[in-house]
């Protein structure tokens, strides 16, 4: 019998004009791995929450959900709590207690398990998830990736039959995301737990899933096993979802491929090799323009540490930022990327070395002077920027600071128009989606008319469509002559949109230069498209490059 079945499930939020999800009838078999995907706002989260009784949102629910053939509402509280596990996006907010071991025990305590059983479950779970080494730590000492693994383990300690996850890797860096997904696939394969997961980072997830549900506007528009899903979507290169697919699928789909569609990098390589056999490879010369003029912002031999006696985070950082260019600062966790941004923005003062803004030492400017019509910085949490009850008021505040009262209303209206935020002006900033919040925060910063825009992880947690919009906005600033610096984990974003790259390792910039040549020269730290085409097509970095090269190469 199916594990979970829904029958014509429709849900409308209070005051909503139309249902958030509509007429959804799906069934999930035991031990299946189902991937739910679709654009932001398509109803993925609502659907998942409707399948878990305790967190079903308030609103008008029609249709039925069955768990083991029984209506969800008829199941007793304990069976419901332990039978269906739920992991959410934000690692910070789903941890309840202050220590790792207590967090693992929390759910079991709730359902009244005796100490002996809890002890055993906690030990087993910690062992399965490799938590032993940080078992006694405080939750606050953990990295984001560890926190998310802890949340997963804490849910698994209750031995659920179904595990539901709502974009669990959206807030994680790529390495942590892969580690998380590896554990998830082990849960599915080694324990046979049914997994239902929503995700927009498909590159790594698609190969794990057995079945894909594609949602559009609150409805399930496709419900196929993964292979046929890929085959079907591959013949529609213009499909709106195409952008979100793994590079291998996108490349083969753009070339109107028939037969088996590659999904992973390995399959992509094999496929590309076969396709290019006996063909002459047109070399791709991509002229990279060098930056012109003097840097508007530069760090010279900057050393920094947070406290005397601690390790240096920056060890002789050299970095130049030019007007009209987008610089992407990349590197692993704790490499000093964010610190570099704080030092460049003048918020932290290096203990040695200097930061120059417009050729003058940043310390020589008066407090606050550089932030008006100068440097603006977007922190990782856009929520730190909003004070008022409506977006309009928040934007007005920034506008008044620079434009004066008379001009302010007009400049707010203009920027809202450019950013596509006009219809959201009366909303509370917290009610916007992740991507919208990001845009609103940038709009607020731009009202201060900065010449240099520094952004910390702006692509975190937003989907591929929002990323493209963001990139367009940033490029427009560059075209207008401003400088943009983006600190990011997102290799694909950097490769596609940045002019220059600075890679930070162990507190210093170890290599950099033009974005294209940087990624073309790397082996590990590069895009999927580059890994697919390495040695077959030279100098291809993005999926578009590969497609272009394949189309232009002729049979020799």
């Amino acid at each position: 019998m199916e594990m979970i079945r829904t029958d014509k499930l429709t849900f409308t939020y209070p005051g909503g004009e139309r249902p958030a999800i509509e007429d959804i009838s799906i069934d999930v078999q035991p031990s299946e791995f189902v991937l739910v995907c679709g654009q932001s706002g398509c109803g993925k989260t609502t659907l998942l929450r409707c399948l878990k009784r305790e967190i079903t949102p308030h609103g008008n629910l029609a249709g039925d959900v069955f768990f083991h053939g029984k209506p969800l509402s008829d199941i007793d509280a304990i069976t419901s709590a332990r039978g269906i596990g739920f992991v959410r996006q934000n690692p910070e907010n789903q941890i309840v207690t202050d220590t790792v071991w207590h967090e693992l025990a929390f759910g079991l305590e709730n359902i009244g398990q005796p100490t002996q059983i809890i002890r055993r479950r906690v030990a087993e779970t910690a062992h399965f998830f490799g938590i032993n080494e940080w078992f006694e730590k405080k939750v606050f000492e953990l990295s984001g990736g560890q926190k998310q693994i802890l949340s997963l383990a804490a849910v698994m300690a209750m031995q659920p039959e179904v595990l539901m996850l709502d974009e669990p890797t959206a807030q994680l860096d790529p390495i942590a995301a892969k580690e998380f997904l590896t554990l998830l696939s082990r849960i599915n394969r080694e324990l046979g737990t049914t997994v239902i997961m929503s995700e927009h980072r498909l590159e790594d997830v698609l190969p794990l899933a057995g079945r894909v549900l594609l949602m559009e506007d609150g409805r399930v528009s496709m419900n196929r096993d993964t292979a046929s899903f890929v085959r079907e979507i591959a013949v529609q290169p213009g499909h709106v979802f195409n952008k979100a697919l793994p590079s291998a699928v996108r490349i083969s789909s753009a070339l109107n491929e028939t037969g088996d569609i590659p999904v992973t990098v390995r399959e992509g390589r094999l496929w590309l090799k076969a396709r290019m056999a006996g063909k002459e490879v047109a070399g791709q010369e991509r002229p990279e323009t060098a930056p012109e003029g003097a840097p508007v912002l530069s760090a010279k031999e900057a050393w920094f540490r947070y406290d005397a006696g601690e390790q240096f985070v920056l060890r002789g950082l050299n970095c130049d930022v030019y007007a009209g260019r987008m610089l992407a600062v990349v590197g692993g966790n704790a490499s000093g990327k964010t610190t570099a941004l704080n030092v460049l923005s003048g918020q932290k003062t290096p203990v040695r070395g200097s930061i120059k803004y417009m050729g003058k030492n940043i310390r020589k400017y008066k407090a606050g002077e550089i932030y008006k019509s100068g440097i603006a910085m977007l922190s990782q949490d856009p929520k730190t920027m909003f004070v008022y009850d409506t977006l309009q008021d928040d934007l007005m505040e920034a506008a008044v600071m620079v434009h004066g009262k008379s001009q302010a209303a007009q400049s707010v209206a203009e920027i809202a128009e450019t950013f596509g935020l006009t219809h959201l002006l009366t909303h509370h900033p917290y009610d916007l989606s992740g991507g919208e919040q990001q845009k609103a925060a940038i709009a607020k910063l731009l009202l201060l008319q900065p010449r240099i825009l520094l952004l910390d992880e702006p692509t975190k947690g937003i989907d591929v469509y929002a990323k493209d919009e963001l990139a367009a906005l940033l490029k427009a600033r560059c075209a207008a002559g401003d400088a943009v610096v983006v600190v990011t984990h997102d290799v694909e974003f950097a490769a596609k949109h940045a002019d220059e790259i600075a890679m930070i390792f162990n507190g210093e910039v170890i290599c950099g230069g033009g974005a294209h040549s940087f990624f073309a020269g790397n082996t590990f730290y590069t895009t999927s498209a580059n890994r697919i085409s390495r040695g077959i097509l030279e100098g291809a970095v993005t999926a578009e490059d590969v497609i272009e090269l394949c189309k232009t190469s002729k049979r020799s």
């Binding site: 596990g85 202050d98 709730n110 606050g368 910085m377 917290y430």
Partner: protein, 289 residues
């Protein structure tokens, strides 16, 4: 650095640290105060390092001085008059009593820094969690919220400063306005997050049955030995304190013997008790030689 008490049962650790605190508070015998201060300082340095200890000491010294100065100014008991301040006699006895109570309070504060290290939140929860499961969970949640809130405040400050709204500069009025801004953002952010936390608690069955309280601690042989040793030392010290050590008085004149044989035995028991964890550490170190 992990200290040896880390592996001991909460009851043992609680017995030790509470005895140290209470015995310190109960006696004003100068030798006992000196023993307590030295032993407490030694343990605090071992647990937290010299740098943090000296930081605490700076604060402790101020309290000590205030009490030592204020007592003779306001307390005119005692018969040995040193000099007059206005019409008020300043007596030797009151001065010594001030020094002793200052020293006692200083020792208590030093012991509290040790308490904070060895009586971890988990140990505390184990002791009181069964009786008060809801309070225990709340405490644990608050302990998580503290660092999270501190982190959020620093993030909000930084983001606001990057808009030229720095809470550290400007007139008092401006700075107060910035303070209000920061707390207002913090409130909205925390409320928003707590909705998610509440959801996740429900999802994990909070309230679906009567909660149990899990603890990772159990009694083992070394706990029982240590418990017996500490209890014996506490009993011995307390008896000897009542018999001899507390005979020492300050008013109206300094009286009582400090060096009787029984008294010396009392000091020895007291010192042994207070140094118990340090001796355990020493023994542990020697065993690995």
């Amino acid at each position: 650095m992990k200290h040896i008490f880390h592996i001991y049962h909460p009851v043992v650790v609680f017995l030790y640290i509470m005895s140290a605190l209470i015995l310190t508070m109960l006696t004003l015998n100068p030798v006992c105060i000196a023993i307590s201060f030295l032993a407490g300082s030694g343990y605090a340095i071992y647990l937290r390092g010299m740098r943090k200890y000296l930081k605490t000491l700076r604060f402790v010294a101020i309290i000590f001085l205030i009490i030592a100065i204020v007592n003779p100014l306001f307390n005119h008991n005692g018969i040995t008059i040193l000099f007059y301040m206005g019409d008020n006699p300043i007596t030797l006895e009151a001065l010594l009593f001030g020094l002793a109570s200052g020293g006692m309070l200083a020792s208590v504060m030093v012991w509290f820094t040790c308490y904070n290290v060895i009586m971890t939140n988990e140990k505390f929860l184990h002791l009181f969690g069964r009786a008060l499961p809801t309070a225990a969970l709340m405490l644990s949640m608050i302990m998580r919220l503290l660092p999270v809130t501190r982190y959020k405040i620093s993030r909000i400050r930084a983001a606001q400063a990057a808009m030229g709204l720095n809470a550290k500069s400007g007139t008092l009025r401006q700075r107060m306005a910035h303070g209000v801004r920061i707390s207002s953002i913090l409130m909205s952010w925390t409320m928003e997050d707590s909705i998610e936390t509440a959801d996740t608690m429900n999802a994990r069955g909070y309230g679906s049955a009567k909660r149990t309280s899990f603890s990772a601690f159990s009694w083992s042989a070394h706990d029982i030995t240590a418990f017996a040793a500490i209890a014996a030392l506490v009993g011995g010290t307390a008896t000897l304190m009542i018999l001899t050590l507390s005979q020492f008085v300050y008013y109206p004149m300094i009286g009582g013997e400090l060096g009787s044989p029984l008294g010396i035995a009392g000091y020895a028991a007291y010192a042994l008790l207070l140094c118990f964890p340090l001796l355990l550490e020493l023994w542990e170190t020697l065993r690995w030689r």
